[in-house]
């Protein structure tokens, strides 16, 4: 706490989309309460040039640092280490920091193929000399440096010791506020806990009741207009059974299946494996061949079952050549 008795809060973003910051704006009028209770030291404190300013802080100077975004570059990792040193409590805030999120799908490829695609192959690219970004490049006036992009997207917990995890893409405002209240009230659970979510699955929060109906064919969302009942029961792959609750089942509230952004359900190690087993248990097949055909029709299993959690999963990434 500062001398004024207010909590010293830091908000930082690494490889992310900005949705976690807007999620804080989604606190709406409570943002004024947050401001009354906490001094926000930086939001974000991002650049290499400001390392010095953060480095100048005594260790543990920041009471709580909400860190969103994945670890994608050398710069992301350096500042993760720095903020760990300077923060009493380091929170992996949002799906990217928690489990890698959608940018983690880059682990199905490598650094070079990404650079080639973006800077050489795209049909709009004009690059006759075949230039690719260089970590250090000499322009006529001097040297310009940019961070090194890793082959592999990592979660915050894979590069640093994390105290708490707030799931969601993005975390929903009521959950964020509950976490803030827990921090202010000193009511935090044991280190390593997932906070800002609940101990159930998305199915428990869904407007529909799942009946575990047997399925002869799986549909992609655009292929059928579902009836007003459980989407999974109708053969639409929905990550609800394998996903931690806390979001309020917002996607299914408009008739779209869950894609799993709140991460694995409590007690589940691998969300994708858990979803696959939920699928396997409802396949309505008379023999193994038929079962294989029905499941085989599911397109892009990795990108579907591990949509938000590939870097944190047991798969982690595609094998590098």
């Amino acid at each position: 706490m500062g001398e004024n008795g207010k909590l010293k809060l830091g908000l930082y973003w690494a490889a992310s989309c900005g949705g976690c910051e807007i999620a804080i704006v989604e606190l709406r009028e409570k943002i004024l309460d947050l401001d009354a209770a906490a001094d926000i030291l930086f939001w974000p404190c991002a650049m290499d040039f400001k390392y010095k300013d953060v480095e100048a802080m005594p260790d543990g100077h920041i009471d709580v640092c909400l860190f969103n975004g994945a670890i994608r570059s050398s710069e992301n990792e350096e500042i993760a280490h720095l903020l760990r040193e300077k923060s009493k409590v380091l929170v992996a805030f949002g799906s990217c920091a928690h489990e890698g999120c959608i940018p983690g799908l880059a682990n199905l490829f490598d650094r070079q193929s990404i650079l080639d695609r973006v800077f050489l192959e795209e049909p709009s690219v004009d690059n006759p000399k075949g230039l690719l970004p260089q970590t250090s490049y000499h322009v006529p006036e001097g040297e310009i440096e940019i961070p090194y992009l890793y082959n592999t997207v990592k979660t915050l917990g894979q590069v640093e010791d994390v105290d708490y995890f707030v799931p969601g893409c993005p975390p929903q405002a009521p959950q964020i506020w509950a976490v803030v209240e827990a921090i202010l009230g000193g009511n935090l659970p044991p280190k390593g806990s997932v906070v800002g979510a609940n101990e159930k699955t998305v199915c428990d929060e869904c407007q529909y009741k799942r009946e575990e109906k047997r399925v002869k064919k799986f549909y992609r969302p655009h292929e059928i207009i579902p009836e007003n009942r459980c989407l999974f029961d109708q053969g639409i792959i929905c990550a609800g059974p394998a996903t931690r609750g806390g979001c309020g089942a917002l996607c299914t509230s408009v008739g779209m299946p869950c894609r799993g952004c709140y991460g694995p359900a409590p007690g589940v190690v691998d969300q994708g494996a858990s979803l696959l087993s939920a699928i396997a248990s409802v396949v309505d097949a008379d023999n193994e061949d038929e079962a294989a055909r029905i499941v085989g029709e599911i397109v892009d299993p990795v990108g579907t079952f591990y949509r938000f959690g590939l870097p944190a999963s047991l798969l982690h990434r595609r094998k590098l050549e």
Binding site: G19, I22, E26, W43, R72, V125, P133, G142, C251
Partner: protein
Amino acid sequence: MQKISIDPITRLEGHGRIDIFLDDDGNVANAYMVVPELRGFEKFCEGRPVEELPRITPRICGVCPEAHHMASAKACDAVYHVEVPPAGKKLRDLLYSAFYVADHTVHFYILGAPDFVLGPDAPPAERNILGLVHKVGLEIGGRVINCRGMAMDIVGMLGGKTIHPVGALPGGVSKAIDEDERAQIEAWGHELVDFGLFGLQLFQDVVMANQAYVDMILSDTFTTPMYYMGLVDENNHVNFYDGKVRVVDPEGNEFVKYAPDEYLDVVAEHVEPWTYLKFPYLKGVGWKGFVTGKDSGVYQATPLSRLNAADGMATPRAQEAYEQFYETMGGKPVHGTLATHWARLIELLYSAEHVVELATDPQITDPHVRNIPTETPDEGVGIVEAPRGTLTHHYITDEKGLVQKCNLIVGTTNNYAPMSISIKKAAEAFIKDGQVTEGLLNRVEMAFRSYDPCLGCATHTLPGQMPLEVLVRDSSGDVVERLTRFVE
């Protein structure tokens, strides 16, 4: 060498930094706006089912996920050759218009207004939304938060989530609305129209009534004539969801007007090895470096450029505001970068009026909001106007609808070259003979802030100001001066 590092350059590909180099006399030799991050969506969308891209690509930007959601859904419609039923189209447009109100509100009140309401030389600790609330009163501050919330509630009602909505898919949307929902949206819409009018009045009272601000808006430092791009409907009125992209030259004459699937004939992207972001330009003029004018293919895609590229607004009150804008600013096109804030408020009013228009459309409660695609998927382009610029999604799939190639030209990217040029111009104006004034920090910020680089909202928000550092180095690279503006 002087290095100015600015945080909220872009939300689309992470952080940004500006490196400014001084010559032996201490004057600006060159300025580089560096984007040090890349996430590679173009690559990892490969292999994904195309109908999932409206749920994947919004993670490019959590500030304007609705724009990616819509551009992606439209690209999917094109890939599947499926027609969206009228109600489906209108519901997408309705969600998108409500989002525009929320997004422009965030930009103007949280990002732009503090410079004008509190003044560019106000202490940084006050020059933020809380300082603004202080100055204009809690009641107005509360109204801003409340109206933004209302607009976001419309997004949530139609799209499930307010950030990263999920309702649009190939052929339409997943959810129809009933009469109760329609009536609620209409009621909110009327409040948003009042709020839009209020914003324009505030701009008149606070900004245009102050000669110092008017002079700044019209000053050469913040004036950069170039090509202007924007989406227009069949009447050449500004449209955000649908239409053709129109580009006018620095004199305001139509240069080209193209349909989404013709974008490769018009736009190309230049590559520099010192940054992870590309520089789009007009192919028909060519890349001539970091210069503007009729002979340079550099164009901008902003609220100002959209007004310049159009012949008017499609709703009555916004049209009045449009006419007043050009009358006051001395005719079309307007080149003053800072006038973008005014243009943004005109767009906010248009979006609010359009919300009411759509909410009172007899078709809007039609339950037929989706068509199931029946054609074989192959290739498609979807374009919408994102708040920060024309947004293009281009997908090629196999016969199962799995993505083989994906190209994205994202809102802020369009403005990468113009922002770089504006920043250099501001730096040149404020750095003379090695002297860097404190005012440089915020003036340079203002030069790019008007473009609303995507991260702006997230960083310049309450209660802090944007952290900035200027390192002034001489030509041998030694630091001769260091100015910081960092919290704490």
